[in-house]
């Protein structure tokens, strides 16, 4: 973990409100693990005052760069989207616990921008010879990210779009359920973990599916952050063991532990 000014080495728009940004930082590129995030000061002004958390999508230790994918939601991400290649932003990271790949099969479920941390995880899981299945959910074809990249790495990719413009029509959780029905029988001995990131209702649904099937499930949670390092207790998520901090105890949690209510 370090706080430093990082230069933007690449910045491009992927879809109407989706962007990809590449920063240079030896430290972050070398130490980042999938599921971790950085906390970015998008402006030196007093408004917006707080940093903005974004998951690390990819890191290249050789080049000393790391990549983020983000969606413009409000003021902070809008400001970020206007930053030019060559300029520097103050970044704190890498933060959070990250994913740990324990079983032989990694089943990744991404809703919308949820693909951001899962892309990194897919790459690392494939490197360590796991079977990787990716479920990518999006509103429509234009918002499906990383499909080709993940396929070329060797992941088995299923796409679901709400309007059916690409892949299966419907929610990604529906595709997941359908898949698991048949797949359960073929696992034979190999153990499987589900990793999910996306909107909370999606995570809740994935957690329920995992529980039904008795699979391990890890979810990457969001909360409004202040310090980003565990000091202020601002980013509580309610778990069966009490409040836990998204920024330090998470963002990755065992889905069984979350009080989804």
């Amino acid at each position: 973990m370090i706080q430093e000014n990082c230069r933007i080495v690449d910045h491009s728009q992927l879809a109407p409100r989706y962007f990809k940004i590449v920063f240079s930082s030896d430290h972050i590129a070398k130490t980042a693990r999938p599921g971790q995030f950085v906390n970015i000061r998008v402006s030196n002004e007093l408004t917006p005052l707080l940093r903005r958390p974004l998951s690390i999508h990819q890191s290249d230790p050789e080049k000393g760069t790391f990549t983020l994918l983000y969606e413009t939601i409000g003021y902070g991400t809008e400001l970020l989207s206007k930053k030019l290649v060559g300029s520097e932003l103050n970044i704190l990271g890498p933060l959070g616990n990250g994913f740990e790949v324990v079983n032989d099969i990694a089943l990744l479920v991404a809703g919308g921008m949820g693909i951001a941390p899962l892309g990194f995880l897919a790459r690392e899981a494939i490197k360590s010879k796991k079977d990787v299945y990716c479920f990518i959910g999006a509103k429509n074809e234009g918002l499906v990210l990383c499909e080709e990249g993940l396929k070329s790495l060797g992941a088995k990719v299923t796409v679901a779009t709400e309007d059916g413009s690409r892949g299966e029509k419907g929610l990604v959780t529906h595709s997941l359920e359908k898949f698991l029905k048949d797949f359960r029988l073929t696992i034979d001995g190999k153990r499987l973990t589900i990793y999910a990131c996306g909107p909370r209702p999606m995570l809740k649904a994935v957690a329920a599916i995992a529980a039904q099937n008795n699979f391990e499930c890890r979810v990457s949670m969001e909360a409004y952050l202040a310090c980003g390092i565990g000091a202020c207790k601002g980013c509580a998520v309610d778990t069966i063991e009490g409040y836990r901090m998204v920024c330090k105890d998470g963002p990755v949690f065992d889905a069984k532990g979350i009080k989804w209510e």
């Binding site: 973990m1 007093l46 000091a231 601002g234 980013c235 309610d238």
Partner: protein
């Protein structure tokens, strides 16, 4: 730059404010804590408190609201875990204490008084984010006086009283605290505020209201420090929206002997260090 406040010797007049720095553990990974004037810990309560439901944080113009609700592991864990960790450093440690009842405060103060590593105690009588106690003491001069007297009786450690801005006349509370024997006063704690999400039509914080901090409140904090500094003889510690050395110096010109840096820790981890460095130009 060295100063002595309420008998606590500090290398410089810049402390980190309660609740924004935990017990120093996280920040110690980022820089040497001994460079700070003092560390004021997160509020410690007699028993563990799990805090308020989330969301607990929301951004506002040049500020933020929080409703943490004094989440902490309680006195026992503080003594067993957090205080020993702080013993690795030489920086003065001021333990911020909160409670729902006078007895709770006194019990914690008593226990802390036995600890060598505790250089001072800050009584938080100003947290707006808990249903019982705390700010109730800080908005009533009689309760303030009683509490401070009891704390002074219970301990030989320097007692700093942290005042609430949510009052009509802060000098009345300040004088009550002084009369009861407070060794120093620190101010301000957060100002009660609220934000509503116009999409969901619900408050953005689960607890509805929270405490406003950050640059937005600086003019109010400077005013109160100025008022209190004229009303009492004990040293005053200025808090509220300090982001730069210039802000810190502004509080000193208003009458503060030292300052605490809160929200700025979230914006720039190094802000206390930059403030210390920058203050050299002025004092």
């Amino acid at each position: 730059m060295g100063i002595e406040i309420a008998g606590i010797k500090m290398k410089n007049p810049v402390m980190v404010a309660s609740g924004t720095f935990g017990f120093g553990e996280e920040y110690s990974e980022l820089y040497d804590l001994n460079r700070l004037g003092a560390i004021v810990t997160k509020s410690v309560t007699l028993l563990p408190r799990e805090g308020n439901p989330p969301p607990r944080i929301v951004e506002t113009p040049a500020g933020m609201l929080n409703s943490i609700g004094l989440q902490n592991d309680g006195l026992k864990v503080f003594l067993e875990k957090h205080l020993p960790y702080l013993s690795k450093f030489t920086v003065p440690v001021i333990v911020n204490v909160a409670g729902e009842t006078l007895d709770e405060y006194v019990d914690v103060v008593k226990a802390l008084s036995k600890e060598n590593r505790v250089d001072g105690i800050e009584l938080n009588i100003s947290c707006p984010n808990v249903k019982k106690g705390c700010m109730a003491f800080g908005i009533d001069p009689k309760l303030t006086e009683e509490l401070v007297k009891a704390a002074k009786k219970a301990s030989k450690k320097p007692i700093i009283v942290k005042l609430s801005p949510n009052v009509t006349d802060i000098t009345v509370i300040a004088k009550a605290a002084e009369k009861a024997g407070a060794d120093a006063l620190s101010l301000i704690n957060t100002i009660m505020g609220m934000a509503i999400d116009i999409k969901t039509k619900k408050p953005k914080l689960a607890m509805i209201t929270g405490g406003l901090s950050g640059p937005a409140i600086k003019p109010i904090a400077v005013r109160m420090v100025w008022q209190v500094a004229q009303a009492v003889k004990v040293p005053v510690i200025g808090i509220g929206g300090i982001m730069t050395a210039e802000d810190a110096y502004e509080f000193m010109l208003a009458g503060a002997s030292a300052v605490q840096v809160g929200t700025a820790n979230f914006v720039d981890i190094e802000s206390p260090l930059k403030i210390i460095e920058g203050l050299k130009k002025y004092i």
